[in-house]
């Protein structure tokens, strides 16, 4: 499973301050730490720390300072597509565009950009009316995104569908619907699109955050989850990924499987 490190996000105080002060150190610190933890991609999100007008320049700067310390590919996370595009211009490796909802003008903007910069796309199962309550409507949005990939020529395996998990302390009924969506989305095409979750959302503001993340990740992986934007510095959570890969027979068991999971 692809681990996308979530920590370089302006919502965290140290990153927000670093973005405002143009101090690369905290970004580079978390890039290295997440890579060490087992991240395969790094998510970059300026959050509200930077005014909209200055965001393109901020994404360019983030991409550049991160690439000074790591070769990991990046996931550029914003609703501001001009900012994402400016960042994509400087990515040394194919990046992920995070994200696009199932809304026509945004689909046109993002899929065209993905083709131009050889990027992958994270597609959200929602439109401007919000997130559906049930699996059925999530899958319907996923189908629109799959059709868009076909229309714009994006290889289906470069499309990651995010069925959008919500915090279980306020929207508990979504958790099983998301699992059901994960199962069904794979069947929308052959080969199917890949799937991704913003995992930490499930445990927002809950005291048992780590336990909830770990448990839900195992459940989601059993439903076929391919990637997660998650806390790559939570060792026990990374152990869950490694163990699920063994129990799903995706990786071959060896006594030291936990140890080698992080190295390679």
């Amino acid at each position: 499973m692809i681990i996308i490190g979530e920590r370089i996000n302006g919502m965290f105080k140290d990153i927000g301050d670093a973005l405002r002060n143009k101090d690369p150190k905290p970004l580079q610190f978390w890039a290295a730490k997440q890579q060490e933890g087992g991240a395969h991609y790094l998510d970059l999100n300026s959050g509200p720390a930077i005014p909209t007008k200055e965001r393109p320049e901020a994404y360019k700067w983030m991409v550049q300072v991160i690439q000074e310390v790591t070769d990991l590919p990046l996931a550029l996370d914003s609703t501001n597509y001009n900012a994402i595009e400016e960042g994509l211009k400087f990515c040394k490796q194919p990046a992920m565009i995070n994200s696009v909802p199932a809304e026509r003008p945004k689909i046109e903007r993002v899929f065209t950009m993905a083709m131009q910069y050889n990027s992958m796309v994270i597609g959200l199962t929602m439109d401007n009316k919000g997130i559906p309550k049930d699996a059925e409507n999530r899958v319907a949005f996923a189908m629109e995104l799959v059709a868009a990939a076909d229309e714009f020529g994006l290889p289906i395996e470069d499309l990651f569908i995010d069925p959008l998990i919500l915090p279980c302390n306020v929207a508990q009924e979504h958790a099983p619907e998301v699992l059901e969506s994960l199962r069904q989305i794979k069947g929308l095409a052959n080969p199917g699109p890949r799937t991704v979750l913003g995992l930490s959302n499930v445990s927002q503001k809950a005291p048992e955050r780590h336990l909830i993340n770990r448990t839900y990740l195992a459940m989601a992986m059993a439903c076929g989850l391919d990637a997660a934007i998650m806390d790559a510095t939570d060792n026990a959570l990374i152990d869950v990924v490694a163990t699920c890969e063994i129990l799903l027979n995706k990786s071959i068991y060896a006594d030291s499987y936990l140890k080698v999971f992080r190295i390679y």
């Binding site: 990786s251 071959i252 060896a254 030291s256 140890k259 080698v260 390679y264």
Partner: protein
């Protein structure tokens, strides 16, 4: 109706291992061999690159072996002289490498001394220009001593040394690290032990591109399907980028194919089985050809006629590209 070929896209490949070293590289070999590097399942040229062809190492022993007379006939006059035997394998039978096995060192057999083993290894090195694979007598304690001594005496030659096993790998890995050789990691037809052993060896500090996997095999009719299935999983592991299973594989074809009754019983005993001369060759050649399809990179073989058949077969499989 045109048929579209279904192609897999793999994220990994078999790692490459270099055997032997020429004078510029600190050794004395006139040929250096690279194995591995394949990006797809065996010989699926349409799907990915088959970078290096499989190679054949012919077996030479330090003492006259207890092989059947039919197999021995191909080596008459040289079986008591490992250097001449190796020369014959290279010059006459076109072996890519020499597999020197010190069965005479067995403490329960002739118990040859370390000095003897080192001397013979050096004689064989001097007699041929191809890279060498050197293995002991399958007595763990004696093997550790032999391999350490040979590794030191032949430093710079980039040998392939065997065999490290789960409960006896530290000495041989240390010898390979200090004197810069490669090692064979042998596991008993067990994918999990295979992977674990590679992890343990790598943890000692030996780079992954200095390890070759011996998955252990059964000969034709004697469990070859188990070997096939393990080897297939190793190859699929390497193609899915499991670095701890990405090593090229070596198979003891000659040893396993020549063990059963079918490869030894005289024609008079079982007239219905055909001539022993043919059976011996076919048993080894068919074992080898099946294992090539399972992903073998190095075949350890004995019978010159079987070697000839398999050399042609490999050339045909590569030319099919």
């Amino acid at each position: 109706m045109p048929v579209t070929l279904v192609k897999e896209r793999y994220t990994g490949k078999v790692s490459e291992v270099v055997l032997g070293a020429n004078s510029e590289q600190g050794g004395t070999r006139t040929s250096v061999i690279t194995v591995g590097g394949d990006c797809t399942l065996p010989f699926l040229h349409f799907e990915g690159k088959i970078k290096n062809r499989a190679v054949i190492a012919m077996e030479v022993n330090d003492i006259n072996p207890s092989w059947n007379e039919v197999t021995k006939a191909g080596f008459s006059g040289v079986l008591d002289n490992p250097a001449a035997w190796a020369q014959k394998c290279v010059n006459e039978f076109r072996a890519d490498l020499i597999y020197l096995k010190f069965i005479g060192a067995d403490p329960e057999g002739e118990n040859r001394s370390l000095d003897d083993c080192v001397r013979i290894a050096k004689e064989v090195l001097a007699a041929v220009g191809v890279p060498l694979i050197i293995c002991g007598c399958d007595d763990p304690e004696k093997d550790n001593e032999i391999i350490a001594a040979v590794a030191e005496a032949c430093a710079g030659e980039n040998l392939l040394l065997g065999s490290a096993e789960q409960d006896n790998y530290k000495s041989i890995v240390a010898a390979a690290m200090v004197h810069k050789h490669n090692i064979i990691a042998r596991s008993p037809l067990d994918i999990n032990i295979c992977k674990q052993l590679n992890i343990l060896i790598n943890e000692m500090g030996l780079p992954l591109n200095r390890i070759v996997i011996d998955p252990m095999i059964g000969g034709l009719g004697f469990g070859i399907e188990y070997a096939y299935s393990i080897m297939e999983r190793v190859r699929l592991g390497s193609l899915s980028n499991d670095k701890m299973l990405s090593m090229p594989m070596i198979c003891t074809v000659g040893y396993e194919a020549n063990r059963p009754k079918e490869a030894n019983a005289l024609t008079a005993e079982f007239p219905g089985w055909g001539e022993l001369e043919d059976r011996v060759v076919l048993w080894e050649a068919l074992t080898a050809s099946a294992l090539l399809q399972a992903g073998a990179s190095i075949l350890l073989m004995r019978n010159p006629a079987a070697v000839k058949l398999i050399k042609t077969h490999i050339a045909d499989l590569i030319a099919a590209n």
